[in-house]
């Protein structure tokens, strides 16, 4: 596998990254469930995820907030909708974002949520993982010559 910057195609466009890493998020959640302490990155990832959901909620309420350099409220909303299995009204999306945010808050404070809630959160994070993986590999083999 030889990846040289000299072989890079010029027309590569950077799409929107997620803004936090789902593997680290999942590990952080697992640690909280096991009542283990989080390292600095894991704690920060929890915060970034909550921030991401807050931006989605604000957008649903008609307010545009920026999540990270390059991602605005409408983009965070679109990304979030892509992770939902069911179709929703705007209020439904907001409710979902609030639910996930509350679950994260509860885990953060008490370290425990029900199995059903845990499964729901887990399923959502795996949907995020799919998006993250697609983002990072979508153009990979068209970008490099092997």
């Amino acid at each position: 596998m030889v990846m040289s910057i000299l072989n890079m195609r010029e027309d590569y466009q950077i799409n929107q990254p997620l803004g936090f890493n789902t593997h680290i998020l999942l590990e952080a959640l697992q640690k909280m469930k096991n009542h283990e302490g989080l390292d600095e990155l894991e704690a920060a990832t929890m915060k970034y995820t909550v921030d991401f959901l807050s931006v989605v909620i604000s957008f649903c309420e008609g307010e545009n907030k920026r999540y990270m350099a390059g991602m605005s409220g409408p983009e965070a909303f679109s990304l979030f909708v892509r992770t939902l299995a069911e179709s929703f009204t705007l209020e439904g999306v907001k409710q979902q974002a609030e639910d996930f945010k509350n679950l994260l808050d509860t885990l953060n404070q008490c370290g425990s949520i029900s199995d059903q809630e845990w499964n729901k959160l887990n399923k959502w994070i795996h949907s995020l993982m799919d998006i993250e993986y697609q983002w990072s590999s979508a153009e990979r083999f068209s970008r490099w010559r092997l």
Partner: protein, 469 residues
């Protein structure tokens, strides 16, 4: 040889050694500038070492225990490397070329960024082999991304603005006004104007009831959230284009409109050439040419910049505007798969675009007010157009560079406009002064001569301005 976590990690580690060597070679180039060299040695190389170190640690654990589970941080680092973000960043630096730098026009935009945004920036000028311009900040999103994904922090707040431009047209000042559109995109991204405007549109729930795109799908997904996602993709892109156009018209006035007209001859003239058909193509990413031109012309009029043009110059704009408004509209009428769901397809037909067009038009007033208030006193004035008219008539017509007006340095917008005004009006006059505008190469030579005068004027006026200050 087996495909395994260990063999994959080995490959990644080798890639990163290779990448580090490339970065070291890159840091020895005459150009990049000292700032870029520092970016390579103080930012990029440490990032590469850090990511490689993450991989090496897990590789050692895998060597010890083949059943070891790859850590979350290693997976996060792999995603960063595989995304190509770092490589893209390095590629932009490697392609920067001072010899190709469109220096004269870029000084103007540098001053503008300095005034309206920040003084802590560097421009990466990257020549492209196609007729394409782009302007984007590449460091801060990467810095943010690294911090949020693997906890790598940096205190370097310098903006790295990547500018791509068509290599063969690097000194073509008649096309260079397109930069103003691209820099409009840059300011929009930095300030999230489009996000604010789009969010306000969506706040009106009635719009969501009205907007009912035709979706081909195996399940019932006709709901508000899907509609917003589609609108974000299409209307969001159209709003961004309108902001960039508005920015360019406010900054450079008629010169930008003439530049886009010229640019469209490149982009859509081929249809006419081969098929005798000029089309207004509706797309998910850009409003069709006639809508954009209508918006630009309307804005020129509102700013009072059209009124001060003479009839000849007005006609150039109105004739083009009439022509494209009479052109056929083209809708793909096909089904585009949305990235929401494998089974969800959007039908891009007239009905769909009619609603997008109506919504887009409703955003133009807030766009104008937002851009004008951002640009403050950089919005072009009728007085500057009059100045340009005089520069064209009193100087360029006689083959004299238009760098000075009434003893003062001429402004960049006035010089660029003067160039266009002369091109459209004074060719015959210039033929009398210049003796190489004859024969088969006449048109080419005329534009080359004119372009040289404008380039010189841009350079000289900047020197003059420094003396004035």
């Amino acid at each position: 040889m087996l495909t395994s976590e260990l063999s994959y990690l080995n490959g990644l580690i080798n890639d990163l050694y290779d990448f580090e060597e490339e970065l070291k070679r890159l840091s020895l180039k005459v150009y990049p500038s000292p700032v870029l060299k520092q970016f390579i040695t103080k930012e990029l190389i440490p990032i590469v070492l850090n990511i490689r170190d993450i991989f090496i640690k897990d590789k050692a654990k895998l060597d010890e225990d083949p059943h070891y589970n790859i850590s979350a941080k290693t997976k996060a680092a792999e995603i960063i490397w595989s995304s190509g973000y770092l490589q893209h960043f390095a590629w932009a630096i490697s392609e920067s070329n001072i010899k190709s730098y469109p220096l004269e026009i870029m000084s103007f935009f540098k001053d503008l960024i300095h005034e309206l945004d920040t003084s802590n920036f560097e421009i990466l000028a990257v020549p492209s082999h196609e007729i394409n311009f782009s302007f984007s900040e590449v460091w801060l999103p990467l810095k943010d991304y690294l911090e949020k994904n693997i906890g790598l922090k940096s205190n370097n707040e310098t903006l790295l603005i990547k500018l791509t431009f068509p290599h063969t047209h690097r000194h073509n000042l008649f096309l260079s006004c397109i930069y103003a559109h691209e820099i409009g995109h840059y300011f929009d991204r930095r300030n999230d104007f489009w996000g604010d405007i789009f969010t306000k549109v969506i706040k009106d729930r009635f719009i969501l009831k009205k907007f009912k795109p035709i979706l081909r799908t195996s399940s019932d997904v006709d709901n508000d959230a899907i509609r917003i996602v589609i609108l974000q993709k299409v209307l969001g892109s159209w709003i961004r284009e309108a902001i960039a156009d508005c920015f360019a018209v406010c900054l450079l006035g008629p010169a930008y409109v003439y530049s886009t007209m010229e640019f469209n001859i490149f982009s859509s003239g081929r249809q006419q050439f081969h098929n005798n058909l000029l089309m207004n193509i509706y797309s998910l990413t850009h409003p069709p040419n006639h809508l954009r031109n209508n918006f630009q012309v309307k804005l020129l009029k509102e700013l009072g910049l059209f009124r001060v043009l003479n009839n000849r110059l007005k006609n150039e704009i109105t004739e083009y505007n009439d022509q494209i408004n009479k052109s056929a509209s083209y809708y793909r009428d096909s089904e585009t798969r949305l990235d929401l769901d494998d089974t969800l397809y959007l039908v891009e037909n007239k009905e769909f675009y009619d609603v997008i067009e109506e919504l887009w038009k409703s955003t133009l007033t807030p766009i104008k007010s937002r851009v004008k208030s951002f640009l403050k006193n950089n919005v072009m004035t009728p007085k500057q157009v009059e100045e340009a008219l005089r520069l064209a008539e009193e100087r360029i017509k006689l083959a004299v560079p238009p760098n000075e007006y009434e003893g003062k340095a001429a402004s960049v917008p006035a010089i660029l406009n003067a160039g266009w005004f002369a091109r459209l009006q004074y060719r015959a006059d210039m033929e009398k002064v210049l003796n190489n505008i004859k024969g088969e190469k006449a048109d080419y030579n005329f534009l080359e001569n004119l372009n040289s005068l404008i380039r010189y004027a841009l350079y000289a006026s900047q020197v003059h301005k420094r003396w004035q200050e």
